[in-house]
Amino acid sequence: MRAFVKLLNFEMNRFAKIYIGLMVLTVALQLAAVTIGANHWLDSANEAMRVNQWTLEQYHNMTGYIQLNSMMYARYNGLLYFGPIFLSITVLLIYSCFIWYRDWRGKNTVVYRLLTLPSNRANLYFAKLVTILLFVFGLVALQIILVPLERLIAQSILPAELYRNISVFDFLKYPTVLKVLVPPYFSEFVLYYGLGITGLIVLFTAILMERSYRLKGIGLIVLYLAVLAGLASVPYLMGYNRYDSYFYPGEIIGACLGLIVIIAGGSLWYSLYLLRKKISV
């Protein structure tokens, strides 16, 4: 356990600078998006009031409340608000591969040191896995605290009559990418991120297969992905999308959850086997 914590810390510190940069960028761009958005609505409201000689009350009656929800940002300046989110996702996806390959890279092949540490190599695997997860959940948490902050900024710019105050939960319920990244219900959070973690484990397995079998590995990876595709198609074979399927919804859902556990468990076991027995520098 001690080795795991130290390895986790080692892996975290190696990417800390870029990660903190991502966080700062996300905060900066999103706050900018909100400020610009709010000012835009304020200007257009003032303009409409000026042209039609309306009072605030009349304008409000005509146009109704502005829903300060993520949809508004998506429509108005989506790139500024959602840009950093997609950028972070891409960077973390790329780093999920680079976190392994960097050890084989360059003249200081760090992998020699990591693989000859006097501890079970599973610690190395979980250190890298948990590092990626911590980075992901860190950004999710950042988004959660940013939303009320952004609302305060919008409220400081817009007069009360113009907007309708909605809660963080509502904000994240609107169908934008945030509905998946910060799901409104904990059961969905567990489901989506359970799938995400399974995906990450599958990705790590493919990487470790390549690092163990090199060129021969490509064939193995294709076979591995074929097996996964086969397993993933089971719910559809059971008639997941047909109303008159032989299996009851409960059985199909049970099968799906079982599959996720099998895929994640199987890939995890195989990855640790590769790391223990087959990995090559």
């Binding site: 200081n108 092949t109 760090v110 020699y112 000859t116 006097p118 501890s119």
Partner: protein, 228 residues
């Protein structure tokens, strides 16, 4: 004692090691010699589990597993620390992971090798990197040390310092396996030689015995073996 039994290693379709067996006793310096590509460093990497192999490696009659890596350390032919780390960070990294890390000796060696703990790994010369690499292995209180080409391609002065280390108490009662492909100025540092050719151990002998019984130097034996 390190025992390697029938080690077989296949890279792609080439059988690099074809049943290599030899022993390296504690307290002796054993030198794996072979022309380039004979699989010398493959043997060391296989012993440390850095590449899969068939066969058996015993340390004091117990099968070697990663948990025993405190008793045996590996000094590869290049420094294996992240390049943005400072030397001080490397030392604290080793202290983190090795219970048998000897911090005082690390400091002594830093002075001996004239390395400054504030330097970054990326800024070190080849000689300084080799010395740091050596330090990271030697500052561990472990019974066995594997060194891959410790002398190759480094400046005269660093080579001198490393040779001093070889005859110092740092090495004395430890089992050391080094690999090299040119032996000339370290002949009398070595206790035992294992000659590799075509993936097999051609000859395994104690240098003094060969000098005494056959009046041959290690270089002579190498010429005989590699002439065939």
């Amino acid at each position: 004692m390190i025992q390697v039994n029938q080690m077989v290693k296949i890279y792609g379709f080439k059988k690099v090691l074809n049943g290599v067996s030899f022993t390296a006793a504690k307290g002796e310096i054993t030198c794996l010699i072979g022309i380039n590509g004979a699989g010398k460093s493959t043997v060391l990497k296989s012993i440390m589990g850095l590449t899969p192999y068939k066969g058996e490696v015993l340390i004091d009659n117990a099968l070697l597993t990663p948990v025993m890596y405190e008793e045996i350390t590996f000094i590869p032919d290049s420094l294996t620390m992240p390049s943005n780390m400072r030397i001080a960070d490397c030392l604290s990294f080793m202290a983190d992971f090795y219970r048998n890390w000897n911090a005082e000796r690390a400091e002594e060696l830093l002075k001996f090798f004239e390395l400054s703990s504030k330097d970054r790994v990326s800024s070190l010369s080849k000689g300084m990197a080799a010395k740091l690499n050596l330090l990271l292995g030697l500052a561990l209180d472990c019974d066995y040390i594997l060194m891959d080409e410790p002398f190759s391609g480094i400046d005269m002065f660093s080579r001198e310092q490393i040779t001093n280390v070889f005859t110092s108490e740092l090495i004395e009662d430890r089992g050391v396996i080094i690999t090299t492909h040119e032996i000339n100025d370290i002949e009398h540092l070595i206790d035992k030689v294992v000659l590799l050719q075509h993936g097999k151990v051609e000859r395994e002998f104690y240098c003094e015995e060969v000098r005494e019984q056959e009046g041959k130097s290690i270089t002579d034996v190498m010429r005989e073996v590699y002439k065939k």
